[in-house]
């Protein structure tokens, strides 16, 4: 047996023994819930909701062990550890977790999209009576069918026509429509938000006076840095003039400023990634292993 295999077997046994201890002594991963009955004053209907309670309250009256939520915690912990196992090396457990994550995410988005878009908006508006009698009972009874919904229906069918053996070109028409709509939307918004308003935001007074007429050094420096920094970065990307002499010096400042920006961006990314790790560690230590009790 390889030495590394032996080390991993020993580590796994120790971790398993420790986990068993946490489960027996501290009910690790167990979720307890308490019922709460809410009555609607107008209709008089009562609805019972179950919310998680701290582990310390598990012996309180009415508090129950929730098998489903406990299972959810354990499944979540397993997949978190399975993904972490990639740090040791690529392995089959990680591959399984990765595939399930991709599949579950896609399926979830598809189901939500189906009920929100297809059933909720399309069927709900095209056939409101049918929708009310089947899956949307709260839909108002006097809603009449919106026949305009036949347009997206036709475009959807045209989209799917590419699966047919002949006439695949038909799918290009709805595709062209969507590309045109989004291109138009984005062109206008980007031009306004990222070009016109950004230029306006850079037109700042370089010498700023306070309300009492005194010179405001801080604001003046801030504005000057903003204006000069923007111009320096733009000079770096202006290739119609050779970057020598004054233009060369200014573009050099521009590249320094860009490097600082990239550094800030990279540092923020590191902070982001650590935050995600901290979130999962917090889940493993507190929600799963019950260090410090549950909330």
């Amino acid at each position: 047996m390889k030495q590394s295999t032996m080390v991993w077997i020993i580590l796994t046994v120790i971790a398993g023994a420790y986990l068993t201890t946490r489960v027996v002594q501290y009910h690790a991963g167990a979720v307890y819930v308490a019922p709460k009955v809410m009555t609607d004053e107008e209709s008089g209907r009562s609805v019972t909701t179950w919310s998680q309670v701290p582990d310390l309250e598990k012996d309180s009256p009415g508090v129950e062990f929730s098998f489903v939520r406990t299972l959810g915690i354990w499944v979540s912990a397993f997949f978190t550890l399975a993904v972490f196992s990639f740090l040791v090396g690529d392995n089959v457990i990680y591959k399984i977790a990765e595939s399930i994550f991709v599949g579950a995410s896609a399926a979830y988005a598809m189901v939500v999209g189906f009920w929100a878009a297809f059933m909720g908006i399309f069927v709900g508006r095209l056939a409101p009576q049918f929708s009310r009698n089947t899956f949307m009972p709260s839909l108002e009874p006097d809603v009449s069918p919106n026949w305009l919904m036949l347009l997206p229906l036709a475009m959807g069918i045209m989209f799917l026509w590419r699966l047919m053996p002949a006439g695949g070109w038909i799918s290009r028409w709805p595709l062209a429509f969507f590309i045109a709509v989004f291109a138009g939307l984005r062109l206008v918004s980007h031009f306004e938000a990222d070009f016109v308003v950004q230029i306006r935001s850079t037109l700042l007074p370089l010498i700023v006076f306070a309300a009492d007429g005194s010179f405001n050094l801080k604001a003046s420096l801030w504005n000057s840095t903003m204006v000069f920094g923007t111009l320096a970065c733009l000079t770096y990307f202006f290739f119609s003039v050779e970057h020598t002499g004054v233009a060369g010096h200014i573009s050099r400042v521009g590249i320094y400023l860009l490097m600082i920006t990239f550094g800030v961006g990279f540092a923020l990314t590191v902070m982001s990634r650590y935050s995600l790790l901290i979130g999962r560690m917090n889940f493993l230590l507190k929600e799963w292993l019950h260090f410090g009790g549950t909330v």
Binding site: T49, S51, P54, L87, V88, S105, Y108, A109, V112, G113, A116, A117, G120, I121, G124, F135, M136, P137, S138, L139, E140, V181, F182, L185, R186, S189, H190, E192, A193, D194, V197, Q198, R200, S201, T261, V264, G265, L268, T269, V270, M271, S272, Y274, S275, L276, L277, I278, G279, R280, M281, N282, L285, K286, F291, G292, V295
Partner: protein, 288 residues
């Protein structure tokens, strides 16, 4: 030559992973919380919500998914608690399919900590609508056209707080929490920039932040970028509403930020050590 420097140069990177786990795990286990210094940007975001008259209507799109939960959940919690303390009406919505679950978490928080908050009167879950930025574009001029019912299918005509709401220009503030596209950038592009009446503050991941800073202050009042400003926001909130601090995990961003700071110190130390190792071993058969 097999000096300590050469051994460090050949150190298995998995030791660094283990060190990272310890740097993050120990502060979480000990519960140590480091103090935070509040920056002016965070105060601006806080004031945007706090200076609104009590009971104002806030649109809160939560455009993120579980993969960004560790970074964005604490700030979403803080925004919701703050709005609830001010008794603002909260309109939850999302343009991400996975955002539905994130909204449900916030509703669970409201039910737990603010049991007097009533669905339909104080908060509503408008849920997910497909269409990416097209959704934003449409609801700036006609909200009921797309949102004729809430997440549960209840017609908006039966929801008291939806009465008289024709578009989001009528809502004094948008508080967006997002982790990608479409998200805060699109809310600025399609809502806050074209309409002077729409004010927006946001919370986003550190990764996204550098692309969004240029929108401040003319197109966006302020933004919380990552877990650090979220912790600062908690601090400002605790100063104004000290009763929140007594609730369990109300200082989640503080807890996360302490781990973050320890991990950053470790990272800086490793970078310095790594450069030292390279300097000591270069030209001596070591790595160059």
């Amino acid at each position: 030559m097999n000096t300590i420097w050469h051994k460090l140069a050949d150190l298995d990177r998995r030791w660094l992973f283990a060190l990272t786990f310890l740097a993050i795990g120990i502060p979480l286990l000990t519960g140590v919380v480091l103090p935070q210094k509040v920056s002016p940007m965070v105060v601006n975001v806080f004031d945007a919500i706090d200076t609104l008259p009590e009971g104002s209507s806030i649109l809160m799109p939560l455009d993120f998914d579980p993969s960004a939960e560790g970074e964005l959940q604490p700030m979403a919690n803080a925004f919701v608690r703050h709005c609830a303390e001010k008794k603002h009406k909260i309109y939850f919505m999302t343009i991400w399919p996975q955002g539905v679950g994130m909204i449900q978490r916030q509703i669970a928080l409201l039910k737990k900590e603010y049991p007097d908050y009533q669905y339909g009167k104080d908060y509503v879950n408008l849920g997910y609508r497909p269409g990416y930025e097209g959704v934003i574009k449409l609801i700036t001029s006609d909200l009921p056209k797309l949102y004729d019912s809430d997440q549960q299918g209840t017609p908006v005509s039966q929801i008291p707080m939806m009465q008289g709401i024709d578009n989001i220009q009528q809502l004094p503030l948008i508080v967006n929490v997002s982790s990608g596209d479409p998200g805060l950038k699109q809310w600025v592009q399609y809502a806050a920039t074209p309409y002077d009446s729409i004010e927006i503050v946001g919370g986003t991941t550190g990764v996204q932040a550098s692309t969004l800073y240029p929108y401040i202050p003319n197109q966006m009042i302020g933004m919380l970028a990552g877990i650090k400003p979220a912790a600062e926001y908690e601090k400002v909130m605790f100063e104004k509403y000290p009763e929140i601090e007594e609730r369990p995990e109300s200082n989640l961003a503080h807890i996360f930020m302490t781990s973050q700071e320890v991990a950053h110190f470790m990272l800086i130390a490793i970078i310095i050590l790594g450069n030292l190792v390279m300097w000591k071993t270069s030209g001596q058969g070591g790595r160059s």
